[in-house]
Amino acid sequence: MLKGNSDELAAPENVSSGEEKTGIKVMPVEECIVEIVSDAGEGAQKAGQSFGSVSAKMGNGVWTVEIIPAEVQPPARSRAGASGIRIRFGSDKVTNMGDEADLVVAFNEQVLYGRIDQKAYREGTIILIESKWKESKVPEIQEEYALAMQEFKQYGFDVREIRMEEECLKFVENPSKGKNMWVLGMLCSIYARDIEKAEAQIRHTFRRKSKKIIESNLLLLNAGYNWASKNLNLRFQILSEAESVSKVVMNGNEAVGMGVMAAGIEVCSMYPITPATSVTHYLSEVFEKSGGLVHQAEDEIAAIGFAIGASYAGKTAVTVTSGPGMALKTEFIGLATMAEVPLVIVNVQRGGPSTGLPTKVEQGDLLSAIFGQPGDTPTVVLAPATIEECYHFVILSRQLAEAFRMPVIMLTDANLATGVQPFTRPEINLDSFSPPIDQSPWKKEIRPYEWDEKTGLSQRPIPGQSDGMYVLTGLAHDEESHVAYDSHINQLGCNRRSRKMAAIFKTLSPPTVNGDEKGDLLVVGWGSTLGAIEEAVNKARQMGGSVSSLHLRFLSPIEPGLEKIFKRFKKVMTVEINYGDEENDPLITSENRRRSQLSWFLRAHTLTDVDFLAHIHGQPMRPGFILQRLKKELGL
């Protein structure tokens, strides 16, 4: 442990529990939500990520999520510019970002307003705020700050004004650069984090930087720690059970990227688009070492065409995109379905329609993934619900794509993309690295689409296989892949492609119900909302509500048994980050009400009057928001 180059700095002893030397009472808590908010570029995210990692390493459950402004460089000290991170951590597994924060470190008061607008805080939330603005040379700033302090207190926040930069100045010349590490130190003290783990984390984060930078960051870390230990009467303890399984911690886009490698995929073809691009940033860095390459194409159409070409040639391929990019891939997805080319398509959903909300979360691409194609185009659509599943579902997607010779669309979203959570370190299965390629001679008598009558399955020849030559086409074709416009051939081809969906359906088992198998209310969700839904449902159950939940991973084909399950509940409703008309909106009747996507889909599928709770706030679903509705529904 580095002592710093100043003698003043004495490393604090490791905090265990109970009463500290300083006489401050250590509060044991089950979980905490902490935020760091700042202008863009002030390093709040780096501090928060380190804090999350340290907590994970200490055996806590963790969920971190970035707070990202829309612009590259929004104006300083502005509501819209709020940039930062939220870390929710606790003794048990943490599955979502939760509701209001318990404590927030703010680099100025304006960004805090941005978060207040988002309802990120509650009465009693502790606010640790940089107080240098009080003495700002710009009178407006002084005024703004003073006004804010008044208002914050009125809101009932527990405000602590701290001269952070001044403290940093004691150790470094330019405090604006390292303040985030000082804050990290402060938080480590408040939450009794293992300072050695924090130091190790800093060394890792800055491993590519100069020794001087690392040293100065460590210095500030310890300074913050010491300052807080001496000057703040805040000390919390989050216990954790020591876990025996080894874990990894990453965000959903990194998990997808690693899943691509684990799936044995060789080609990742993409065009940059938020919030999907970071999957490929990650891959661009490391993919080469595992025998794969990222191709940045000239546009999304070329990206999927390239992936289809690679797959046709026997190389496993994925294309990664988001809403507007999906729209452009529409025609090629149809070709892959028609000509039965295996392909994994990852859509990290963002807010729509159109360019919409590039950095924000939504689940609005569900119906377009299933029905977006002209003509009958059976497509597999599946959705991971956790960061861990982001990893494993890529492997699953590839397996389905290969086995059923069709494109598989995997829908994640901006919430999974940037959320960070530890999960059990996956076991590597060497089998999944086998290429699909087989260059042994093709049996001449087998046709390139020799569809099994029952399952629609067929074996595909790959260039290089002698006697396998055929010409793939997106026109209607017979089993030889010859263009054929005859009525019965078109009917046959469509039928065989459709039958594969029934074959996949047969392999699925009904989803498990969280809670009782029957009751008053069943909540159905999909994708990133799993954690928030289950948390809310479990709380409502604790309050005596007769409510259960069910989470779908397969949307197309949809998982079996739903109608039966639905029948056992008095009411079924979905929870979605999607648009739906409110019942009591003007002009809206139950007849013309435009329903949220999953609820609409389930109505057709089960003929059940499925209701919904939906919003398009560009924010993850919060458990409290869901709970509120559950209480209303259940009369709690």
């Binding site: 080894s246 990894v248 060789e266 073809s269 194409a297 260039p463 002698s466 006697d467 030559m469």
Partner: protein, 317 residues
């Protein structure tokens, strides 16, 4: 499910391929369509080079010309209108062992496919591209194409088209990393053959524009050039298309042109008085994106697993 034989460097059985080994389905082009002659020339190139049919892939978009792959007995990919290049690139990317040809039309390449075309030139992946330019949309029944001459009467411009045509040669010569640009005419099969031989031999993106007759919709389009060889100018050079005595005898007009000289290439390509045929530009030293693609193929499952483990370690709690 993935337990198949793995990499793609299998030996191809030694066997002499005759012309008929390259003949696929019966062509469905109009009887005197210029595409027939090109098909025959291509089949001859394949035989001449003894390309293994199972290691050869013809890629196309949609159009009369894009039916090409069906008439070859090789692998083929008859994809979407305007998109042959991305598909061909994906095929070639990790399969250096495959010989890739692209057959495209003036609408397919220069209209809806223009963006991919520009980028395909820049990627400069090793493939042979035939732009079958009939200056019209054939398959959809006579609409104006970007290469249609100004004033062309078509179904979308019954009163005559408005704009001067795109010159695919000049456009191609304007793109960074261009490496091979040639022109030939369907009515001179010997020249088509030797041009395609050279294109195939070139390591990189070999772009060959072939003036192609569409007698069905433009019966007289090239009749002057066909009846009067003096309207053609033959580009000659020791590094150019191989000299064929019969062709040289036919065309009185010829220009000695060094295909390394891109400025002169552009000036020649721009000529509107005469049709220049031959090699405009060739630079085998340009960056090839397919070399990048082939740089790390064939990793064993163990290697992949090791790399993944290194990554997981980085993210270990």
């Amino acid at each position: 499910m993935f337990g198949l034989q793995s990499e793609c460097m299998l030996h191809v059985p030694e066997q002499y391929h005759t012309l008929s080994d390259y003949e696929g389905a019966q062509p469905r082009w109009c009887p005197s369509c210029g595409d027939h002659a090109v098909l025959t020339a291509v089949q001859k190139v394949c035989r001449e080079k003894q390309l293994p049919p199972e290691k050869t892939v013809f890629v196309s978009g949609i159009g009369c010309s894009s039916r090409f792959p069906h008439y070859m007995r090789t692998y083929g990919f008859h994809g979407l209108h305007g998109r042959p290049f991305p598909v061909a690139e994906g095929i070639k990317f990790r399969r250096p062992d495959l010989d890739v040809f692209v057959a495209t039309g003036d609408g397919d390449c220069c209209s809806i496919g223009a963006g991919h075309w520009i980028h395909a030139i820049r990627y400069n992946m090793n493939m042979t591209v035939m732009l079958l330019d009939n200056e019209i949309y054939g398959l959809t029944k006579m609409q104006t194409s970007p290469t249609s001459r100004k004033g062309t009467i078509s179904n979308t411009h019954p009163h005559g088209s408005i704009l001067p045509p795109i010159n695919p040669l000049v456009t191609t010569l304007g793109v960074a990393n261009v490496s091979f640009v040639a022109q030939t005419v369907d009515w001179n099969p010997a020249h088509v053959f030797s041009t395609l031989m050279a294109a195939h031999a070139h390591p990189g993106f070999s772009f060959v524009r072939i003036l192609q007759r569409c007698p069905h919709f433009s019966p007289n389009l090239y009749s002057d050039e066909i009846s009067n060889p003096d309207l053609t100018v033959l580009l000659t050079h020791e590094n150019g298309i191989e000299a064929i005595p019969e062709v040289q005898k036919m065309y009185k007009n010829s220009v000695e042109h060094d295909p390394a000289d891109i400025n002169q290439a552009r000036e020649l390509a721009q000529r509107e008085d005469l049709v220049p045929i031959g090699l405009f530009y060739c630079n085998p030293e340009q960056e090839q994106y397919d070399k990048y693609g082939a740089s790390n193929i064939g990793f064993s499952p163990q290697q992949k697993s090791d790399a993944l483990n290194v990554e997981l370690d980085k993210y270990a709690v």
